[in-house]
């Protein structure tokens, strides 16, 4: 199994969720994060004092999937998260050793 985590722009979040559910993904977890990358931040001035805001708000989506769904999932995220502008974000793929559903105790792919 794989854990696919994608750091995306806030306003693509809803589209990504829709696109994923459309291909049958029924579970995912989302986390608010702050991202730092090629997309530069901006200055904010408060009463004459300047602060550089370097970290921009992003959403991180975590989706656990069986290996065979990997390509489809990546494809779908790439399409739905992309705006073409800098800062669109990244997808990180991890190997997942095991998954357990707490309610039933099921393990492995069944638990996803």
């Amino acid at each position: 199994m794989k854990m696919v985590t994608a750091i995306i722009k806030h306003f693509r979040f809803d589209d990504v969720r829709k696109a994923l559910t459309d291909i049958g993904i029924v579970g995912m977890t989302a986390i608010e994060v702050k991202g730092f990358g090629r997309q530069k931040g901006h200055m904010e001035v408060y009463r004459g004092v300047e602060y550089e805001v370097r970290f921009l708000p992003k959403v991180k989506i975590e989706v656990a999937i069986p290996d065979e769904q990997l390509d489809k999932v990546l494809d779908v995220i790439l399409k739905s998260a992309k705006t073409g502008d800098i800062g669109d974000g990244k997808i990180f793929i991890y190997d997942l050793q095991d998954v357990i559903r707490i309610r039933t105790g099921e393990r492995g792919e069944e638990a996803i």
Binding site: E44, V45, Y46, R47, G48, V49, Y51, E52, V53
Partner: protein, 437 residues
């Protein structure tokens, strides 16, 4: 420990007997003399309530500007000034400020514990009960030290703060209030200050400067990002301050009618002009108009019109407001070059604003409104009086505040340790957190 305890029991017994005596003494309010006017009294009590509300308004104004970890500690500086200074005021502050004059410098202790301060009108305000005048003035004494707390926000020990404001009020606010409003030497000299440009804003603003210099800047100042953690809270505070300021300025007419109306109108115009000017200047200078700028500009306008409110007309208020918005903007935007960390700009807004407004009164006072002309209406002497007033109050405040701070620092230390500053005052000093959201 034992001894200490005994001591405080003794002190306590003494206090109790003193209060006991006063409880019997004070209610000698025969209402035989003049009946207070119902409209005037209503107006002053409303104004007193409005000025009371300004201090929690200030708590929100300042509280929104600091980092989340210091929100309660900052709010507490303002909030605790209400009860602490109120008690100081009824015990000794009022008599020091407004009690029978001693050589133009201070009030005598004759009215200690409000002894003799009853419901019969006083010469200060002949149509309202003396106690109404007393409590109204007390609200001014409360907010003034709270204003200073902006200068040392996020790093001062709470215990030292309590000592500081007690000393500051007793040794700076009370005498200066006496000089100008209690019939003291500046009043005799002809200095005018309608609602506290000198008494409130210059004393606190200049003291803020002294405090910022003595306590030193916050750890990480100008390096770390320290944006206001909750600007809507600051806006809420601004709204309450503006609202309360009608009581502050128009209430200073000490009656309800023509003068209160004029002060109300000039106050609003001063605030409006300060806000619009700030936004225009900021927009030109930085490219973007900010809500924080609008809030700051309105407070600058309000602070600045304060000494002039009941002396000038609407169009003069407009000019004073424009001066407030532009000069205070420059003051704040020069701050980072000057090196001290007046964290929430108590000097930049109140010190600078109070000085401009006191000069403004000397320039634009009109005898048609309140009996006194300024330079613009042919009386250059008034401007000179005002400059003397500014000089005397600024020097006195700066020097005495520096001495008080040094003494407190030597005795108990002014500043929290680095660990506390890093963790935040809320958790370390107060053991509580602002939000679990």
């Amino acid at each position: 420990m034992r001894k200490n305890y005994k001591l405080s029991i003794t002190n306590f017994k003494f206090l109790i007997s003193a209060i006991g005596l006063l409880m019997i003494a004070s209610p000698a309010f025969a209402a035989e003399a003049t009946k207070p006017d119902t409209g005037d009294t209503a107006w002053i009590l409303v104004s007193a309530a409005l000025v009371m509300l300004m201090t929690p308004g200030l708590a929100l104004f300042y509280g929104g500007m600091v980092r989340r970890k210091n929100v309660l500690g900052t709010i507490m500086h303002s909030f605790m000034a209400i009860p602490i200074i109120s008690l100081q005021w009824i015990l000794i502050g009022y008599t020091l400020s407004f009690g029978p004059d001693i050589s133009g410098f201070i009030g005598s202790l004759e009215w200690f514990g409000l002894n003799g301060v009853g419901l019969t009108p006083s010469h200060y305000a002949p149509t309202i009960p003396h106690l109404a005048f007393m409590i109204y003035q007390g609200m001014f004494a409360v907010i003034t030290p709270a204003l200073i707390s902006g200068a040392f926000a996020e790093r001062m020990k709470f215990s030292s703060y309590v000592i500081f404001i007690l000393l500051w009020t007793t040794f700076i606010y009370d005498p200066v209030a006496h000089w100008i409003w209690g019939g003291g030497w500046l009043a005799k000299l002809g200095v005018i200050d309608f609602a506290g440009g000198l008494v409130v804003h210059v004393t606190s603003g200049i003291s803020a400067l002294a405090a910022a210099m003595i306590i030193g800047h916050r750890k990480g100042y100008l390096q770390d990002s320290m944006p206001p953690h909750n600007l809507p809270m600051t806006v809420t505070g601004t709204a309450i301050l503006w609202f309360g300021w009608f009581g502050f300025n128009a209430g200073s007419a000490l009656s309800s009618g023509e003068l209160s109306t004029m002060a109300f109108v000039t106050t609003h115009i001063g605030a409006a002009a300060g806000t619009v000017t700030w936004i225009i200047v900021e927009w030109k200078h930085r490219g973007k108009p900010t809500m924080f700028g609008a809030a700051t500009g309105s407070i600058a306008g309000l602070a600045t019109i304060t000494p002039a409110a009941g002396f000038v007309g609407p169009m003069s208020a407009l000019v004073i407001g424009i001066a407030a918005g532009s000069i205070c903007y420059i003051a704040l935007n020069s701050k980072t070059k000057l090196g001290y960390d007046d964290s929430l700009d108590a000097f930049g807004v109140h010190g600078v604003g109070g000085i401009i407004g006191t000069i403004g009164a000397g320039l634009f006072a009109s005898a048609a409104i309140n009996g006194i002309n300024g330079l613009y209406f042919g009386n250059p002497q008034q401007l000179i009086n005002q400059l003397i007033g500014i000089g005397a109050v600024a020097v006195y405040s700066f020097v005495l505040c520096a001495i008080i701070l040094k003494v407190v620092d030597a005795l108990v230390g002014l500043r929290v340790d680095e660990h506390t500053e890093v963790q935040g005052l809320d958790i370390v000093l107060h053991g509580e957190e602002g939000y679990f959201i």
